[in-house]
């Protein structure tokens, strides 16, 4: 594993909860020039039954969740919803791995806040504001 994946100190991230589901470390970035962006967070299912992410929207627009998989040299992206989260398990989104890909009507800017909605099969919709960070990984 090259690099250690640590967070830059002071980087803004948000959290949210819905019953036994919690979302932590949520942030978005907008790839220049916009409006396409990516969002990252960790969903933890602290319950004792699995739940499934059915869909995601950002800024009121339906978004997609992709996973980057290695196929030899190649980075391949595949949509992964619906995606079950087993009881006691987490789904971790990070740059270069699983990410939400979204496009808003106007490009968001660093410092803005976008509403993230995750729709779960059992728990229903989890809504939370997500901060937009400057693009790049320090």
């Amino acid at each position: 594993m090259l690099g250690c994946g640590g967070e830059a100190p002071g980087a803004s991230a948000a959290g949210g909860e819905l019953g036994v589901l919690s979302v932590t470390g949520a942030y978005a970035m907008v790839a220049p020039p916009g409006p396409t962006g990516s969002a990252y967070f960790t969903i933890t299912n602290r319950g004792d039954t699995p739940d499934t992410v059915l869909g995601v929207s950002v800024g009121g627009v339906q978004a997609s969740m992709h996973e980057v998989r290695r196929d030899g040299d190649l980075a391949r992206m595949a949509p992964i919803l619906p995606r079950a989260i087993p009881a006691g398990d987490s789904l971790v989104l990070r740059p270069g791995g699983i990410h939400v890909m979204y496009s808003t009507a106007r490009p968001a800017a660093p410092g803005d806040s976008l509403e993230l909605v995750l729709r779960f099969a059992l728990a229903g919709p989890l809504r939370m504001p997500v901060p937009v960070r400057p693009f790049g990984v320090e």
């Binding site: 090259l2 690099g3 790839a31 220049p32 190649l74 980075a75 992206m77 270069g96 790049g136």
Partner: protein, 208 residues
């Protein structure tokens, strides 16, 4: 007494290992030369290809980058994170290296999606990161050959929708000033990793 001192030493060792990972901005990478990318066991010569730059002119990669620390990256402008992150991170770091070093670095982006990525589209995209980054396109066949010449599996369209994504090798290839490929940088490289490596790459293997 002896027991507690050994226990204390043990704790210090564990602590050093635990904080050795990414906590300091100048932590050296893991390779023989202290780099954060993957060093090739055998350096390879630069690939021989000529593609079309964002001004529509032929760009002979070997000739144009002769003697420069060269970063070559195959990607596409509709790529949501890997491609813009590599470009943004490199651009940010290069803004902060001494001019003397910066003048000896070239960043070359080649599209793996020539259908959508025309010269002007690439130029516009690259200018958001750095106006000096070179952008190249060509026919599908030329771009595939260039990837093969660089030792990479060629990328391809992943689906047939209008918003298609493109599978592509996500590495930035580093050629040192002596025109040899020595390091591969995968996605996930951070600005602090580039900042640590660029001085080494720029000086350790000078142009002949």
């Amino acid at each position: 007494m002896l027991g507690s001192r050994r226990a204390a030493l043990g704790l210090v060792v564990i602590g050093a290992v635990a904080i050795g990972c990414g906590q300091r901005s100048d932590d050296a990478g893991a390779t023989p030369h202290g780099l954060h990318g993957a060093e090739l066991p055998q350096p390879r010569p630069k690939p021989d290809f000529t593609l079309t730059n964002t001004e529509g002119k032929p760009y002979d990669f070997r000739r144009a980058t002769d003697g420069y620390l060269t970063f070559l990256f195959f990607g596409y402008t509709h790529c949501p994170d890997i491609c813009p992150l590599h470009m943004a991170n490199l651009a940010t770091v290069l803004k902060n290296v001494p001019v003397r070093t910066r003048d000896r670095v070239k960043v070359v982006f080649v599209t793996t999606d020539p259908a959508r990525d025309t010269g002007p589209v690439i130029r516009d995209w690259l200018d958001h990161f750095d106006e000096t980054f070179v952008g190249l396109t060509g026919t599908e066949e030329e771009v595939v050959q260039a990837q093969r010449a660089a030792g990479l599996q060629p990328g391809f369209r992943e689906d047939s929708t209008a918003e298609y994504t493109v599978a592509h090798a996500a590495y930035v290839i580093a050629y040192t000033p002596d025109n040899l490929q020595r390091v591969l940088y995968p996605s996930g490289m951070r600005q602090r990793d580039w900042a640590a490596d660029i001085p080494i790459l720029a000086s350790r293997w000078p142009a002949k």
